[in-house]
Structure formats: C-alpha cells, structure tokens
Symmetry: none
Subunit: 401 residues, 2 copies
C-alpha cells in the first residue's frame, strides 16, 4: 500500500475501526478434512460472514511460500510492506522482552557461548546454559559494563539468549554479526561498510571486550556472540498516515512493542481474552482505532493442539457480540499468519479474512479458509488490509476527480 | 519474488521437488463449453486435485493481456521476473537451435534480405528463401567470415532466419538493430549509446560488411539484417538461490537452453513423454529438483487441434501415478502460458496450476481452469511458483522473528 497516498486521502471522523487479530488463525485440514476454524462451532462469526466481505490474506504478499515471523506478520497487517520495513532481529527481541524503545536505540541479540583456550568458539550456546544462570550473568554485565557516551540496557530472554540495547546519539544498525556461525572458528569483530557506523562499531566491540573480561571465569558461558544489530525503525505512524488515534490491546510484550512502533497507545489489557474485550469496551470513547490481539490461537497451533485452537476460536466467537454491540464502522477479523496444528509452526498459507461494515458484498454463510478463498476480496496481500478498513469506515477521500 | 530473500531463507534438504510443465496447458472453451483440460479424461489429475492447492497462474504477472513467448513464460516459472530479466531474442534463438551459451556470448538474429542496386532493402526476407539454400549460405559465412579477436558461431533456423553468436571477452549486448523495418530504406549501421559497447559495435558492423562481400552474387539473399542483440544473461542460479541441485528433462533445445541459463543440469531425455518420465525415475537419486517439460500440448494448441491437445493431457495423466510413486515432497503441474486451440497461438489467459504436498488446503475435486480460478491460491503470478514449491517442500526458513 502507498502510505503517502493514505496520508493524502485519509480524513479524521468519529467512525471507529477494530482490527481483531487471532494470532496464527489460518490452518490446514485435520483428520476430518476441516481446518481448525472450519471445525470450530462459530455461530457468531458465521452470521457475521453473511454480512461481511471475505478473502484470503497473504501475510508477506508476493513472497509466496515464505512463513512470516510475528514482526513481519504484524507490520503487514498495519499496512507496512513487511520486506521493505524489515525490523532487525535485535529490535524484535528487545520488543519481545518488553524494553520500551526509542529512535536512538540500537539493539542486538546476545548468545552466551564458550571460547576454548585458543580463542576459538567451541560451543555457540554455552552448553544451553540454564535460564537462571544466564540471567545472573546478564545482571553481572548490566552492573559492570560501562560504555563511553551511551546507556546500555540488558535483558535476559531464555537459556543462552539475551538482548542488549545501546541508547545514545549517532548510532547505526549497519553492523555485522560476531557469530562465526560454526564452532572451531574465532568470533568475528563487529564491522560496518558505512563510515557513519564508526561509533557503533567501536561501542559494540568494546562491549564484547568488557564482557569477555567479566565472563572469563564463567566457563562454559565465557563469552558473548552478538547478532541481528538494528536501529529502532522510523515507521510512518498511524496518526499521520491514517489520522487515527490508535490503541493496542495485547497481552504479550512483542505485540505491544510492534504496536508502539506504529505509534499506537498501549492499553492496560485485562485478564484473558474477555479481559481484552472488557478493555476495548472501557476505552471505546478514547480512540478511533483498536488493534486487539489474541495470542492463544497461535500457541495452540504451535503445540499441534488442533482441538485447543478450535476452542480458542470458539471463545472469541462467544465474545464477538460484545464487540459488535459497540458498533464499529469497520471490523476485520483475521490472523497475522497461519499456524496449522498439523505443522506445529507458522506457515506460508493464506489467512482467513473477514471485513464487516455497512458496505459489503457477502458471498458466504460461514467463516472458514474455503469460504474466504471464494470471497469477494479474493486472495490478496495483508498489506492492503488497512486501506480496506479505512475505505469501509468511509475515512478515505476519493483519489482523483 | 525477491530472489535475495530466497537465497537468505532457503535450506538444503533431502526433499525433492517436481515442476511438471505442460507447455501451453491453459485453454478456452470449445464447442461443448469445456476447455481442453476440462474436456480431457483425467482421473489421476482429478484425484490429485482433491489433495492439492489450486490456482490460476498469470505468466507475466501484472502485465495482464500480454501473451508470453516461451522465454518469458519459463523464466517466470523459474522464479525470475520475466520483464526485468528480459532475455534477448538473439539469445533465445541461439538456445532454440541448441548452441550452448556461456557468459562471454553475444547473440543476434539474422535475416537474409535483398538489397537493390542503390543499396536499399527491397525485400526483408530475401523472397522467403528456401531453408536448404539459406543453410548453404550460413555454411559459407561460417567458413569465410573472420573477425578479429572473437569466435563466430552461425546456425540456420528456418527459411530466411539464422542466428549468430560472437564469443569473446569484453562484449556488450547494448546494440541497435540494422533492420530498417520497412523496404525502400538502407540498412542501419549497428550503434550503441554506451561507450563499453565500442568493440561490439565494430565487430557487428564488420560482420555485416564481410557478409555483404561474401553474398554479393547471391541475389536475392545478398545481404543480412541483424536484430535482437543480447548477451548471455547473468541469472542468479538455482544452486545459490534455492540451494537446489536442479535437473531439466525436456526434448526441445529452447527449453534445455532456458534451463541451462538457470543453472540446471540437462538430462538425456527418453523418447516421448513416457521416456521423459523414465528419465525422471532413473535420475531421482541424483537431484532434488526436476523440471519436466512436455511440448506436445502447445504444438496441438498452435495447430488448433482441440482434441489432440486433450489427448496429450490424458497421456500425461496416465503417467502421473509413476511420478507420484517417487514421493516428491512438492509437485506442481502447470503450463508456461495458455495456448487455446481456438486461438491457435499463445495467449494471455490464466494458466491452471496444481500444487500437491502434505500441507495443502484443497478446494475442488477436479483439475481445470474453473476449479483453479476458485482455488485457495487465487489468481497469482507465475513468478511466485518457485517460492510456493520451496515452502511446501519445507525448504524455507521463517522470515523474521
């Protein structure tokens, strides 16, 4: 989608938009030939489908066959080209552990690793060090690493993984990894092809040197490898692009962080899915766009639990009338990607998409992958969803005379 | 498709992929309202469709309405943007006559033509000179033309048409045609806007001058017109892009040549379609990607022979179980373009596409243009097919965290 065009055509109105994302909603047929969504008893979604437009959304657009992570999946839903606006792994990790990022932040992922007597990496994961031990080392580094002119923020992720943020003026994310990718090699120095990154190169290498000194007696975690450097991305925000005062209701730090990148306000979510809907109702007067994120569909899919995924969908279905009662001008129900229980992972498949407004061309009486495949929106790119929502909410001026 | 993304995400595995191309497969309704594919008795394709994803492929993507030649049609199937990676007509002709090309090769098409006493072109096709006569002139030129510092390779095509390849260091394909496009005009000198093409300009004009001297008493074929200059294109190869050890099974030089451009190994094909399937079976352990090309569908369509085209499709259908028995992780059945018998030519219409793997969302019980139009892949660009195959074969890492 052309974000400049959106900025040119969008108008501020009272109309409210809801983007309800069931993470990993898309599925594949299980034993009886139905997908998780098709198998779920969803009387409310089905009745809504008969008053909605349907389609299958492609999370990465023309990058067919590629399974998106949560970052690209949501950037697409928010209208950003997920390949052009690539967000570095370090930034996504920092968002995932709940670090609130700003535009002066450079982030990277850390692996605790083992270096042998000759200086070569003998284990890239430090024997998959226990989380508790790694967290202690993160605290040690946080306390004693001291870099000239920048603040250093460290957070532990899981096992051997952590994340570091350098906060200061004049940083650059155009830095190479130190991870040599296989054992038996020495770690690489951080390098950059761009002269503007000179300060960041120096800081990153100084960080590694100080960490090595602090960790030298902490075998097997006696060194750190840095990967996925990236700056906080400068995304065109929802306010200027869509003239929306947008809010996010999500329970996981990663999704809160992605929403913050787009300029959304993060609301205090309640307990569970019903708590999220409660927050939506309580905040209805305060905003004109609501991103509501349900995580449990994806988790069930990742666990290969077909039935549990259907159950979560049914739980959301039961709450749908409360959302409809608020009277959104446009409501989309979809996922950021498919997570078929049969695959136990994110996948590249099309994602069911339903868009309800007063101005729709319905094609089916139920909400499922196959009714969506035959819908009036066809198979289309997720990046177009924001435009569709804006159009259906009558928030876009005509293009051209 | 973003080939850099493919290179970044693709992984080497044991899984095998088959891309089965029935040239010109797409069709239009004949007398009884069915297309060639719909009219054919295809129990095996239909049973497979019920375990596959379907879609209609657009050979040139967004260049709707444009009928592709075999070159662009296959480049799209191989994942290359067929407009960006335009392959010169000279190169396609050289591939078509079976010249094995390398990266130092500059090719152009030759028309034998007639020049009158005043030096103007009076017949751009030399009275459509007989093939035997033209072949003799090609031999004459091959024997006596001598260019400084490059090898010259000539092959006759058909009637007044031939192809020339200049092989040597420092050549450029950025050259203009000598064909004035209509009679009554003098042939044009070869020119180029780019200084790097100076050597090639000199060589091409020298070639024309020597040919004119050798042909001066050979009226009506007393000169040559050169068209469609182009260098052997540097396509990102299958090995580095997809980490595939790819093989091509095709009976015509043009398709072998196109496969070679993509870095595929050309296998010795057997006799007829069953011979190609036999080659596939014998080579199954040696490669992890197989492009199998069936020409006869296109030839029947070009001849306007609806029934013969259906018969060829039935012949392939009968061989399908042998391919399935090999157990490909992903199998696509499609065409490079449509060749409706009613049009007796390549056309711009959508091409039926079927993709079978263990991870599919079936939507129909038969393989035909109209079941494909309603499939879960929708109407999509042929350029995305390689990504889909890689995804379905589980050969792509996730994009982003």
């Amino acid at each position: 989608m052309d974000l400049n065009l959106m900025r040119e055509l969008s108008v501020k109105t009272e109309a409210r938009i809801v983007l309800l994302v069931l993470d990993g909603l898309g599925g594949l047929p299980g034993g009886d030939g139905k997908t998780e969504l098709e198998a779920a008893r969803t009387p409310n979604f089905d009745a809504l489908a008969a008053r909605s437009e349907l389609g299958l959304s492609r999370p990465l657009g023309r990058q067919a066959g590629v399974s998106p992570g949560s970052g690209p999946g949501h950037l697409g839903l928010f209208g950003y080209d997920p390949v052009r606006y690539a967000v570095g792994r370090g930034i996504l990790s920092a968002l995932g552990v709940g670090i609130e990022l700003g535009e002066n932040d450079l982030a990277a992922r850390i692996n605790f690793a083992t270096r042998d007597g000759s200086g070569r990496i003998s284990d890239r994961r430090a024997g998959r060090i226990a989380s508790g031990d790694a967290a202690e080392l993160v605290n040690l580094l946080q306390k004693d690493v001291d870099l000239d002119g920048v603040e250093v923020i460290l957070e532990h992720e899981k096992e051997h993984r952590a994340v570091v943020v350098f906060r200061g003026e004049g940083l650059s994310g155009d830095l190479s990894d130190t991870d040599p990718q296989r054992t038996g090699l020495e770690p690489l120095p951080v390098r950059s092809p761009s002269p503007e990154a000179e300060k960041s190169v120096r800081l990153a290498n100084d960080f590694v040197a100080q960490a090595d000194e602090l960790l030298k007696d902490r075998h097997p975690a006696n060194t750190v490898l840095l990967r996925g450097f990236g700056m906080h991305p400068a995304l065109p925000g929802f306010r200027e692009t869509y003239k929306l005062d947008a809010a996010a209701i999500a329970s996981y730090p990663m999704y809160k962080g992605l929403s913050r990148l787009a300029g959304m306000e993060i609301l205090e979510e309640g307990e569970g899915i019903s708590g999220e809907v409660q927050t939506l109702k309580e905040s209805w007067q305060e905003h004109d766009f609501f991103f509501v994120h349900v995580k449990a569909t994806d988790s069930a899919g990742e666990d290969g639990d077909f039935g549990r995924k259907s159950n979560v969908i049914e739980e959301v279905d039961a709450l749908l009338p409360e959302i409809l009662d608020l009277g959104p001008a446009a409501l989309a129900v979809t996922g950021d990607h498919a997570t078929p229980a049969t695959l136990e992972s994110h996948s590249w498949h099309g994602v069911p998409f339903l868009l309800h407004s007063d101005h729709v061309l319905p094609t089916a009486e139920s909400f499922g992958e196959r009714t969506c495949a035959g819908g009036s929106l066809g198979v289309f790119d997720a990046e177009e969803i924001m435009g569709l929502l804006m159009g259906h909410a009558l928030k876009l001026n005509r293009y051209g005379a």
